[in-house]
Structure formats: structure tokens, C-alpha cells
């Protein structure tokens, strides 16, 4: 019985991916565990292994094809002695074979939400053009632009450098800025948050990436008691110009310990500024402002949004002021902002 090999979901938020490279050819015999292909997800390039054994009957998708939906057929695997013509053109779904059975995550947010808020209201220069960017790219660009602009800005966190970011946010940054300014830390949130606070007292402007904000619970004391309160306790003499950023809130099917939304918690702390952008343009403009802000800023991202694309003003220095809500849709009776 021929088996359809389906595009696998290789991350919790993956909806589609690129078939970067086939590592088998038609006619090859494969056994369980053999590597079939390299697949590029929204987070990384990963190897995709065979589950069943058989002979590659047909490669349905050419190498390099992008935007292949999760669960669509990418190859046909034949049993010994079976020929391609024996295989029914529509293999039964019961014989699916892929690494992880992913239910397509439907994202209501993308279905109805506006892709471009009322950006004109911010008085963009006349003739401003836009480029399409994901939230992920916008965050990276914001950090890189600020690091080019100010030598004292640096990025630290788990897997931010060599691994290129657990969520691929800091992709390419190690190459550009080197290991002095893009720093892999051990898994020691309380410790590195405290070191970053000290570095901010000492004249630097750290960007601390938490792999997710769930893990910042370990660092809560340094964020609140040291970063947020020092300005007041020192009578205005010194504070912590720094950004704590990372994905926050619900992600896709990762369980209660990885899904907490901390927006309200941090918003209750005097001395912290809390930002939670939606679009790529806001993520970029607000993160740039957050890095320049002389206060500790909590910058809450969302994993499900990372791969979503938006129109971003194509300007050399696009910033969005902190503390001003964007109106995405005006209401008839009431507008929430």
C-alpha cells in the first residue's frame, strides 16, 4: 500500500514551510530513521526523518519550494514490489506518515485583523513607502538598527547568539556584531537579569531576551526590586535604562507553564513601562523607542505573531512613541485602546 509522506509541522506555530533540500531521490530505498529532507520552518532548518520503510516512488514537491502547507503531500513511498501506477492517485488519509501529526492551528487573529493600522496618523514623511515584514524580522531590525546607532546597546540571553535565537529573532546578529555584543548566557535567568541590571547602572543599555517570559519568573526579583525601583530609591540619581523582551502569553499547545500572559502583572509595577505590540511596524518602532528610553521597559512579544507579515514603513529611523495607544478600529459607541 503506497503511503503519502506529508509536510510535517516541526514547531508549535508552524503553518507552512520550505522544502529546502531533498536528501533522497526517486527509487531510493529508505528505512525508518533515514533522513528524507531538510525543511525550513519559521524557527529553524530541520531534518525530516522517515517513519516507514519503503521505496521513494515520487517526489511531489521540488527542492526549494516555499510555503508548503503543513499536512500536504510531498512524496509517495511505495512498498517493496509495488509500482507507482499501483498507488492510487489519492492515497487514503489513514496512511499518513510524518513526524508529528499536526492539526492545523487556526489563527482567528489573522483572519479578520487589520494588517495596517492607522499608520498615517503618525505623520509619516510624504512619499513613505512600505515593505512587507514579519514581526520577527521587524524586532531583529529594531535591535540591529539601535546597536548600529549606539555602541552601549547589547543583547544577552539564552541561545541568542550561535543558535540564532530560540525563535530565530536574533538571526544574523552574532555575525554582524560579534560575541562581545550578542551574548549567549547559561540558563540562569535570575543571574543574568541581575548582571544586566548592574551593567545598566554601569553605563550600558542591555537588551535581555527571555526565551519566553514564563522563565522571567525566575528573574522577577531583579526586574522589580532592582531595575524598577532603583531610580526612586536613589532620588533620581541612577536607574536602569534597559529592555527585557521575549515572547509572552499564549502560544500554540505548549501547556500551562509556557502560556502565561504577564502583561497585567508587570503593568502593576511602578517604574516599569510595559509594551505589547501587535503589528510588525509597531514592534519595530516601539522596540527602538524602548531601547532609547531611560527606564526599564518590558517588551512583550507573541510567538504566534512572529511569522505574521505586515506593512512596515521603509524609513531609516522609524520609531513609535511609548505610552500612546494605536487605534486599530474605531468603535461606534466605544473605542478600546
Amino acid at each position: 500500500m503506497a503511503i503519502e509522506i506529508l509536510m510535517p509541522a516541526l514547531s508549535p506555530t508552524m503553518e507552512e514551510g520550505t522544502l529546502a533540500k531533498w536528501l533522497v531521490a526517486e527509487g531510493d530505498k529508505v528505512s525508518s530513521g533515514d533522513i528524507l529532507a531538510e525543511i525550513e520552518t519559521d524557527k529553524a532548518t530541520m531534518e525530516f526523518e522517515a517513519v516507514d520503510e519503503g521505496i521513494i516512488g515520487k517526489l511531489l514537491i521540488a527542492e526549494g519550494t516555499a510555503a508548503i502547507a503543513v499536512n500536504s503531500a510531498i512524496a509517495i513511498l511505495l512498498e517493496d514490489g509495488e509500482s507507482l501506477s499501483d498507488a492510487a492517485p489519492t492515497a487514503t488519509p489513514s496512511s499518513v506518515s510524518h513526524a508529528s501529526l499536526a492539526t492545523k492551528v487556526s489563527l482567528p487573529v489573522t483572519a479578520h485583523a487589520p494588517k495596517q493600522g492607522n499608520i498615517a496618523e503618525q505623520d509619516l514623511p510624504e512619499g513613505t513607502t512600505f515593505k512587507t515584514q514579519t514581526v520577527r524580522e521587524a524586532i531583529r531590525d529594531a535591535m540591529s538598527e539601535e546597536m548600529r546607532r549606539d555602541e552601549t546597546v547589547y543583547l544577552m540571553g539564552e541561545e541568542v547568539a550561535e543558535y540564532q535565537g530560540a525563535y530565530k529573532i536574533s538571526q544574523g546578529m552574532l555575525d554582524e556584531f560579534g560575541s562581545k555584543r550578542v551574548i549567549d548566557t547559561p540558563i540562569t535567568e535570575h543571574g543574568f537579569a541581575g548582571i544586566a541590571v548592574g551593567a545598566s547602572f554601569g553605563g550600558l543599555k542591555p537588551i535581555v531576551e527571555f526565551m519566553t517570559f514564563n522563565f522571567a519568573m525566575q528573574a522577577m526579583d531583579q526586574i522589580i526590586n532592582s531595575a524598577a525601583k532603583t531610580l526612586y530609591m536613589s532620588g533620581g540619581q541612577m536607574g536602569a535604562p534597559m529592555v527585557f523582551r521575549g515572547p509572552n502569553g499564549a502560544a500554540a499547545r505548549v501547556g500551562a507553564q509556557h502560556s502565561q500572559d504577564y502583561a497585567a502583572w508587570y503593568a502593576h509595577i511602578p517604574g516599569l513601562k510595559v509594551i505589547q505590540p501587535y503589528s510588525a511596524a509597531d514592534a519595530k518602532g516601539l522596540l527602538k523607542s524602548a531601547i532609547r528610553d531611560p527606564n526599564p521597559v518590558i517588551f512583550l512579544e507573541n510567538e504566534i505573531l512572529y511569522g505574521q507579515s505586515f506593512e512596515v514603513p521603509d524609513l531609516a529611523d522609524y520609531t513609535v512613541p511609548l505610552g500612546k495607544a494605536r487605534i486599530w478600529r474605531e468603535g461606534n459607541d466605544i473605542t478600546l485602546s
Binding site: F192, G194, I195, G198, N225, S234, G236
Partner: protein, 332 residues
């Protein structure tokens, strides 16, 4: 407590006089603070440094201009020793606007950019990564400063201390971890809380060198400080000094002191006192007379009394100060 005290060696008269003055200033200042507390002029927490003076005075003698320091809530001595004004410190204790934090920090929270003093932290152990972070900044900026990061024997059991040891060693940060081991964390003796007899030996797990130092001997502290500073400044990474000291007073102001005997305290005061040690060296070495020392005592008393007057007269902060300095204004 560690071995016999340094008897004399090649210590100049000037240096001995300097140590005597500095330590005496801290002691008299703290005694005055205790008095003001009794009068209700200082409230809340107030952790006195009496007995531990040689630690900070010895290490400050090993520091250079621009080196940084950060410590816990038991911070008055550190501030005086790094050159912050007695007036500003005392006025902060009384919560007045003339204090270093405009009366908004109190006994535990003072800072001085000018003197490179980075607090004054009330959460046990929190200053340890902060100190390493200051050292991180110095290394990043490429200057050759070192940071003295002070913490207690009790704080030495906090997890973040070891998180910091790991990163400080990994990244060769120029930070000196100074464990002020006064043998008690509030009412808990080191024996009852700490699995290792020598706390500095914990550094070995991270490859951080360290040593125990007699903290009642300011000359020994200075010498150890110089070793540590040379190590850090030459780019070899962190160093640990476990300085064995003793606090004569209670943990804070309302301490029933049931965890140790009067005799224990009395014995240290009589046999190990750091100020008496220097006083002896000055007199037996014929560097000065009793009368000379009395003159110094008087001068210091005058400085301390003046600070108390200043702290009483300085106005309380305006009510509006409750909601200032919560957010810094961005520069235009």
C-alpha cells in the same frame, strides 16, 4: 577567627593614622545613628556596621579612583569609607531631603555616581549579580576598573550568588566578591545555615580563587585586597575574599540577641577589636601620643555631631516627592 594579627611590618605612620581615622569615623557615626534611632529620629530598619569597620576601610585602601562598590543594606560604613559625606548619609537615615536619596531611600538605599557607590540593596544577595554586571560594563567599555561586591555569610547561601560566580568566571569579569562573614545572618549562625566551614572554598567549583582573611586586622584586609585587585585588574577574572569579622550590635535595631552570649561579644571586643589594634600599633610604635589620638577623636566627634545636626535640620521631603523619580524623562 584567622591567625595572629599583623604586628607592624612596613606600615607608615600616615597609613596607620589614616586607618585609625577612617575606622573611628564609621564607629562614631554608627553610635550616633543608634542614638538618633533611640530618639525616634531614625525609623524603620537600621543595620549598624560596628565591629566590621576594618573590612571596608582595608579594602578601600586597595582601591583606585574609579573602582566601583556595591553592598547590602548594612551600608553606612561603605559609604563613609568611599568618601561620601557624613551629612548626606545621616540625613538619609533620618529620611530628610538633604539625604543622598532625597529621603526616599533611607538607611538601606543610598547611591553616589560620583563616588561609584551603587547601593544599598535590601534583598539579600541581589547585589551580587549587580556587582558582576558593573564589572561586565567596565570590561565591555574597555577600562580597567574593578568592582567590590560585598555580601554577608547569610547571603552566600542565595542561588543567585552561584549563578553569578558561574558567569563571572565564564566571562572573566573583574569583580571581587567580598563575603563579610560576621558569623550570623540575623539570628542564624553560620554553623546552622551553611554546609561549608570555609565559604570562599565554594569558589573552587567555578575555578575562582579565593582566601580567608582576618577581618579584625585592617592591614591583613588591605594586603588581601591588593592581591585580589591585582588579579582582577590584570584580566584574570573574579576573586573571592571571605573576610572573617564580627558585628557587635544587633542585626537591626530591635534584636533580642538570644542567639549568642554577651560573653561571646565581649570577648571579641576585648581581644580582637580592629580600632584598638591600630591604636596599639600607633602608641607602641611611638608614632603618636595619647593626646594626639584624643585630638583625632575630637575632630571625628565634631564631624559626626555636625552630621546629626544637619540630619535633624534638613527638611522632610515634600509630599510630591512620593511620585517623582519613578520614571526618568527621556532626553530630548
Amino acid at each position: 577567627m584567622a591567625a595572629k594579627k599583623t604586628s607592624k611590618a612596613n606600615v607608615s605612620k600616615d597609613e596607620l593614622m589614616h586607618f585609625y581615622r577612617e575606622m573611628l569615623l564609621i564607629r562614631r557615626f554608627e553610635e550616633k545613628a543608634g542614638q538618633l534611632y533611640g530618639m525616634g529620629l531614625i525609623g524603620g530598619f537600621c543595620h549598624l556596621y560596628i565591629g566590621q569597620e576594618a573590612v571596608v576601610v582595608g579594602l578601600e585602601a586597595a582601591a583606585e579612583d574609579g573602582d566601583k562598590r556595591v553592598t547590602s543594606y548594612r551600608d553606612h560604613g561603605h559609604m563613609l569609607a568611599c568618601g561620601m559625606e557624613a551629612n548626606g548619609v545621616m540625613a538619609e537615615l533620618t529620611g530628610r531631603s538633604g539625604g543622598y536619596s532625597k529621603g526616599k531611600g533611607g538607611s538601606m538605599h543610598m547611591f553616589s555616581k560620583e563616588k561609584h557607590f551603587y547601593g544599598g540593596h535590601g534583598i539579600v544577595g541581589a547585589q551580587v549579580p549587580i556587582g558582576a554586571g558593573l564589572a561586565f560594563a567596565d570590561k565591555y567599555l574597555g577600562n580597567s576598573r574593578v568592582t567590590f561586591t560585598y555580601f554577608g555569610d547569610g547571603a552566600a547561601n542565595q542561588g543567585q550568588v552561584y549563578e553569578t560566580f558561574n558567569m563571572a568566571a565564564l566571562w572573566d569579569l573583574p569583580v571581587i566578591f567580598v563575603i563579610e562573614n560576621n558569623q550570623y545572618a540575623m539570628g542564624t549562625s553560620q554553623q546552622r545555615s551553611t554546609s561549608s566551614a570555609e565559604i570562599y572554598e565554594r569558589g573552587r567549583a567555578f575555578g575562582i580563587p579565593g582566601e580567608a582573611v582576618d577581618g579584625m586586622d585592617v592591614l591583613a584586609v588591605k594586603a588581601a585586597g591588593e592581591t585580589a585587585v591585582a588579579h582582577c585588574r590584570s584580566g584574570k577574572g573574579p576573586y573571592i575574599l571571605e573576610i572573617k569579622t564580627y558585628r557587635y550590635r544587633g542585626h537591626s535595631m530591635s534584636d533580642p540577641a538570644k542567639y549568642r552570649t554577651r560573653e561571646e561579644v565581649q570577648k571579641v571586643r576585648e581581644e580582637k577589636d580592629a580600632i584598638e589594634h591600630i591604636r596599639d600599633l600607633l602608641l607602641t610604635g611611638k608614632h603618636c601620643t595619647e593626646d594626639d589620638l584624643k585630638t583625632i577623636d575630637k575632630e571625628i566627634k565634631a564631624v559626626v555631631n555636625k552630621s546629626a545636626e544637619f540630619a535633624k535640620e534638613s527638611p522632610e521631603p515634600a509630599l510630591e516627592e512620593l511620585w517623582t523619580d519613578i520614571y526618568a524623562r527621556a532626553e530630548a
